[in-house]
């Protein structure tokens, strides 16, 4: 499924003294199969944007609403996820949500059921078009728990609240991907985890990307993570999209990114520092390529 947004705007508390424009005429396309990164500060509009993707925030549809807010209706707003037209209020949003999984920040805080099994099954039961059989549910939950790296038989009867932090997060992710969504959106999936936990989550995302979820979108502050994993990156700032580029090209704009107050990957920082010594190192900003290019530059060759 392809995500296509054109001229998308959104204002919180429109018409009140607290009104704030979160998205200003954003156009962005995410192709099927991408591992897409979204970066930007808190309040840059990135969360507002991703919440549109499974209709947690709606594109205002009725003209009346616009007149009330004394605004012209954006006749040209387009928001499509696959065949779902999100500007049409007759769209089956429930079906959309089963296809677009959304993992919020600190998803472990949304766990609620008595057992891990029930919590993971929650989404599956909600989205099933007809009442699923016990067997179907069990299979789905087993698959979901297995792919996030947990032992189904070991954890199914446990209370999700008795698990460790990293395990809780994986259960929460299992609860989202249990419907095998084609698009998976994650807001800061590794926030608050220690380095090892982070690594595990990134491995899990690649596992999902190569199996269930054709498209993965991550919102992240960790530029090393972005440079290492993403096919393309969108930079949000002040409700607008400043860049949409592959990391390889994006981080050649390191100075601009830093001036926006954003971070850049370590490799880009080193490249920037090297410029002072008259060395223009070309690499795609992954650690692997950085090492390769640096060693090549020094004529050391590369050990394959």
């Amino acid at each position: 499924m392809r995500i296509q947004a054109e001229h998308l705007s959104y204002t919180y508390n429109a018409g009140s003294p607290f009104a704030s424009a979160a998205l200003k005429d954003v156009s962005l396309t995410v192709e099927e199969g991408e591992f897409f990164g979204i970066i930007g500060h808190t309040g840059s509009g990135k969360s507002t944007f991703v919440q549109h993707l499974n209709a947690l925030l709606r594109v205002p549809t009725s003209l009346r609403k616009y007149r009330k807010k004394r605004k012209d209706p954006p006749s040209n707003t387009v928001l499509k996820v696959g065949d779902f037209d999100l500007t049409n209020k007759k769209t089956d949003f429930n079906a959309l949500r089963s296809k677009v999984g959304m993992v919020m920040q600190y998803p472990e805080y949304q766990l609620f059921a008595e057992t891990v099994f029930d919590d993971v099954a929650f989404g599956y039961k909600n989205f099933a078009p007809e009442k699923p059989t016990k067997e179907q549910i069990e299979n789905a939950v087993r698959d979901a728990l297995t792919i996030v790296g947990l032992d189904f038989d070991e954890v199914k009867e446990m209370s999700p609240f008795d698990l460790s932090g990293g395990q809780k997060r994986r259960v929460a992710i299992a609860g989202v991907i249990v419907t095998k969504p084609e698009i998976l959106v994650l807001d800061e999936p590794a926030a608050g985890l220690d380095p090892l936990g982070k690594q595990e989550i990134m491995e899990l995302l690649h596992r999902l990307h190569s199996s269930w979820c054709r498209t993965v979108i991550i919102v992240s502050h960790d530029m090393d993570e972005i440079a290492e994993n993403c096919t393309r990156v969108a930079v949000f700032s002040d409700g607008e999209v400043k860049y949409v580029l592959p990391p390889k090209e994006l981080f050649t704009h390191s100075e601009e990114l830093l001036s926006l107050g954003l971070d850049v990957p370590l490799t880009a920082k080193i490249c920037l520092a090297l410029k002072k010594y008259g060395i223009d190192l070309k690499c795609d900003f992954t650690t692997e390529d950085f090492l390769k290019q640096t060693l090549a530059l020094a004529g050391k060759g590369v050990k394959e």
Binding site: N94, R97, G101, F122, G123, F161
Partner: protein, 270 residues
């Protein structure tokens, strides 16, 4: 979002904003007394004039203040209809089945509507012009005499102040959890009563757990900052009276006098 949802404080600088919160509370009570003392439309008109003056001085848009009525519109319509149709008056205009519309009924309903509207708007003016924090300070200060009978006023104020700090956070959190469960197919909008009650559980439990977690962490943080309960604490903020407070006091006193005079010389409408 959270700012609108709670407190409705309208941030600006004005005469009314700058009044001492304690006095504002006292004035509100005095104003409400005036509304109830007013026995005829002249008295109510005086109240309205004072209210409009206060709104003008507060720099809060008039429409915003009166929007507060929306919340109790149903109540107003309901009581008005009830009085209009059932009031036992003498001059009967119309009669149908068990309903009678009388001159007195119309007057009384109209009187009641004005009273209710004044009541709501003046209260909302207080919350529009006073930050929740100042309000808490004011209440604490007004209740201070109760410490004589060992009533834990300071602890109560502490609880209120913490509640004010955390209510917006919890509203935000509720929204976040609801979104998370919606994304997992939870349905809060349709369905019968039972299914709606059931739909709340996936929101309520995480919310409760997170509140407990917050409470625990906050407790630790407070203790680490040497909190041991209300004893032996000092207080940084002190409220001070200014010329504005005196002016407002005179205005309210004049209002009560006017209302009482109107009652004595013009008699009661109802």
């Amino acid at each position: 979002m959270k700012d609108v949802a709670f407190g409705q404080y309208y941030p600006t600088k004005s005469f009314v904003h700058n009044l001492d919160p304690r006095l504002k509370i006292v004035f509100l009570i005095a104003y409400i007394v005036a509304i109830f003392l007013a026995a005829n439309f002249v008295g109510l008109a005086c109240c309205l004039v004072v209210l409009m003056l206060a709104i003008g001085l507060s720099r809060v848009p008039v429409i915003r203040v009166f929007k507060a009525i929306k919340g109790i519109l149903f109540l107003i319509i309901f009581t008005t209809l009830l009085n209009l149709l059932f009031y036992n008056g003498e001059t009967v205009y119309a009669e149908w089945w068990i309903f009678t519309i009388t001159k007195e009924g119309i007057l009384f309903s109209a009187f009641l509507v004005v009273r209710l509207i004044l009541l709501i708007t003046c209260s909302s003016l207080l919350t529009y012009t006073t930050t929740p924090v100042a309000l808490t300070d004011g209440i604490e200060s007004l209740l201070y005499p109760l410490t004589w009978i060992k009533f834990p006023v300071r602890e109560l104020a502490q609880i209120m102040s913490i509640a004010l700090r955390y209510i917006p956070i919890l509203i935000d959190e509720t929204e976040r959890i609801m979104n998370a469960q919606k994304a997992r197919g939870a349905n809060f909008e349709t369905g019968g009563l039972m299914s709606r009650v059931k739909a709340v559980i996936p929101v309520l439990i995480p919310l409760l757990l997170s509140s407990f977690r917050r409470a625990e962490e906050l407790g630790d943080a407070m203790e680490a900052r040497c909190y041991t309960g209300g004893k032996k604490r000092t207080k940084y903020k002190k409220l001070r009276f200014t010329w504005r407070d005196l002016l407002a006091f005179l205005l309210i006193a004049a209002l009560i006098a006017a209302v009482v005079l109107a009652k004595v010389y013009l008699g009661a409408t109802v």
